[in-house]
């Protein structure tokens, strides 16, 4: 099957809706990756041959609204919700000529690192079905890794939900600068952290989809009007003269698998061979003891306010409201509709915003975030890029995850929460294997420096030349 680049440039490949539909069902049977596959009837009706993307198949994370399709954000409380509108990112992808193939499974509202907090199904890793595909965009990464068609997934990251599953499944994930892609139509987790971004089989694929979905949108006041030009059109495999800062607090973190560390240093050596230079640097705020609490306090505080809107009226899970008081009714719906991790985060988020605790937790975390942003900005005066592993380890077994407590699970996000807190663009690029399981390299750029990050990733991708087919 052709690559995305060949598919849109050469325009020779015809996709049979029947065969595509059968293949998607096979993927779902094998890996639990889809919340809903688009119907054969809908696939047959889509005509996109005259548009830029030539009918390129795209999957959409369950938290991103697609008109008339289930959009549950992995939660029982939105089990039957079908939005009457498209998210801006989806609308733009459709207008550019993509073919919507299905909604992908995820942790409930994005609350998870392994996609094990999904109300419907837990996606399985195509490299080893007993292992996690990562979270929370687990289904998106599985489809990207296992599909036999040219395809790009729309995922979403709040604290690492693109990089983590990309790393665990051997695909490329781009988390853009906060505000570069509209959040209109994204079912919120934490407003000041949520970003929609693409996952693809190659750096070109994610650059292409970013060009389609980015840009100002009057329906999301936090989008930025900044002009960037064509990221995929300007893609150059060049890192000559680039300075890369290696974040000491992350590469020396005691939880990093030594073989993941070996792959990391091997990647840095390759970048050096290509003309880049690197240096170990210190960013104390990114130590696990600080970055993890800062991220979780802010994200839980925002999540607990976002989830307050689910009240069993107008949409989502409803019960019989007769003869019940407001509070009784809300409690009944919310207690049944939310899963355990959502309840945990609502409780913690409400607690840290509570009078008497707000300064101690919430405001303190926001000040730590300011310090982290300043640290990044200071480093970007001297360096073009920063680097770390994408995840401290390879994908764990689902049976091992079941034994972990929440603190252990939250600690797994140590590599990813920093750039998410600061809103910096970052790319997770497959950079090797440990015992047959893929590992990822994080390349982080300053705000709006997506091109810098993509070019370095493009150069290293070519140099490494990895076979990333899980079969």
């Amino acid at each position: 099957m052709s690559t995305v680049k060949e598919f849109i440039k050469e325009r020779q490949t015809e996709i049979s809706p029947d065969r595509l539909h059968s293949h998607l069902k096979e993927l779902e049977d094998n890996y639990n990756c889809f919340r809903q596959i688009n119907s054969l009837d809908s696939l047959q009706k889509i005509q996109n041959k005259d548009k830029d993307l030539n009918g390129l198949p795209i999957s959409v994370k369950d938290s991103i609204c697609v008109q008339g399709k289930l959009s549950s954000a992995g939660s029982r409380i939105l089990e039957n919700y079908t939005p009457p509108f498209d998210a801006t990112a989806v609308e733009r992808a459709k207008n550019a000529g993509s073919t919507f193939i299905g909604k992908t499974n995820m942790d409930e509202f994005g609350f998870g690192t392994f996609s094990t907090n999904c109300a419907f199904e837990t996606p399985k890793n195509p490299w080893d079905k007993e292992r996690s595909a990562g979270g929370s965009s687990g289904g998106a990464a599985v489809v990207t890794s296992a599909i036999d068609y040219p395809h790009v997934a729309l995922g979403q990251s709040t604290g690492g939900s693109i990089s983590c599953p990309a790393s665990f499944t051997g695909v490329v994930g781009l988390t853009p600068t906060y505000g570069l892609v509209s959040r209109y139509g994204l079912i919120s987790y934490a407003n000041s952290l949520d970003k929609i971004g693409p996952l693809g089989k190659s750096v070109f694929d994610v650059a292409l989809m970013m060009d389609v979905i980015k840009g100002e949108d009057y329906r999301d006041q936090t989008t930025v009007s900044r002009q960037q030009g064509s990221l995929h059109g300007s893609l150059k495999a060049e890192v000559e003269g680039k300075k890369i800062g290696v974040i000491k607090e992350l590469i020396e973190y005691e939880g990093v698998n030594p073989k993941v560390r070996d792959n990391f240093w091997n990647s840095l050596k390759k970048l050096e061979e290509l003309g880049a230079s690197y240096e170990l640097i210190s960013m104390p705020t990114l130590k696990k003891e600080f970055s993890i609490p800062a991220y979780y306090i802010i994200s839980m505080a925002e999540a607990s306010t976002n989830l307050a809107k689910y009240s069993g009226i107008r949409y989502g899970l409803e019960k019989t409201p007769d003869k019940k008081s407001f509070n009784q009714y809300f409690k009944e719906v919310r207690s049944e509709g939310f899963g355990q991790e959502a309840k945990r985060r609502i409780l913690l988020g409400s607690y840290t915003r509570k009078a008497g605790y707000r300064d101690q937790y919430y405001l303190k975390a926001l000040k730590v975030r300011r310090k982290a942003i300043e640290e990044y900005k200071e480093k970007f005066k001297r360096f073009d890029l920063l680097a770390s592993p994408s995840m401290p380890n390879v994908a764990p077994k689902l049976s091992e995850i079941a034994k972990l407590n929440p603190i252990d699970i939250y600690a797994m996000d140590v590599m990813t929460v920093g750039p998410n807190l600061a809103g910096m663009p970052h790319l997770s690029l497959p950079n090797g294997f440990v015992k047959g399981l893929p590992t990822g390299l994080h390349l982080i750029g300053d705000h709006f420096q997506e091109q810098e990050v993509l070019n370095a990733g493009y150069a290293l991708e070519k140099k490494l030349g990895l076979d990333l087919d899980p079969d």
Partner: protein, 110 residues
């Protein structure tokens, strides 16, 4: 004697934890089962302890909290009406609908 005091302290702490969990759950409109209360009261206080590590960072009290990663200005759209959902679209996702209205629980006691 010491043991008894420690036990009393322990049981007071458990009581405080339980009351706090119940009050936050009430504020959040969540009805927790007994097993959920037990699980959350253990977990949540351990998680809060891990959050307390932030106290080790020396932060100037003058530092501005970063509510957003970028100091961008919110751009409001023009104050003009635009495309709207139809009535059918608005009610499509609701189960409890009566005579063209959403039906909810009673707003006041009889």
């Amino acid at each position: 004697m010491t043991d008894k005091t420690e036990t009393e302290k322990g049981s007071n702490l458990e009581k405080d934890k339980r009351e706090l969990i119940e009050s936050v759950a009430e504020n959040s409109r969540l009805e927790l089962t007994e097993s959920e209360k037990k699980k959350f009261e253990d977990e949540i206080f351990s998680i809060l302890q891990s959050f307390d590590r932030l106290d080790e960072i020396n932060i100037d009290s003058e530092v501005e909290p970063a509510f957003h990663p970028l100091d961008s200005v919110n751009n409001s759209r023009k104050d003009e009406s635009e495309r709207n959902l139809t009535k059918d679209q608005i009610f499509k996702n609701a189960e409890n609908v009566e005579r063209g209205y959403f039906k909810g629980p009673k707003a006041s006691e009889d």
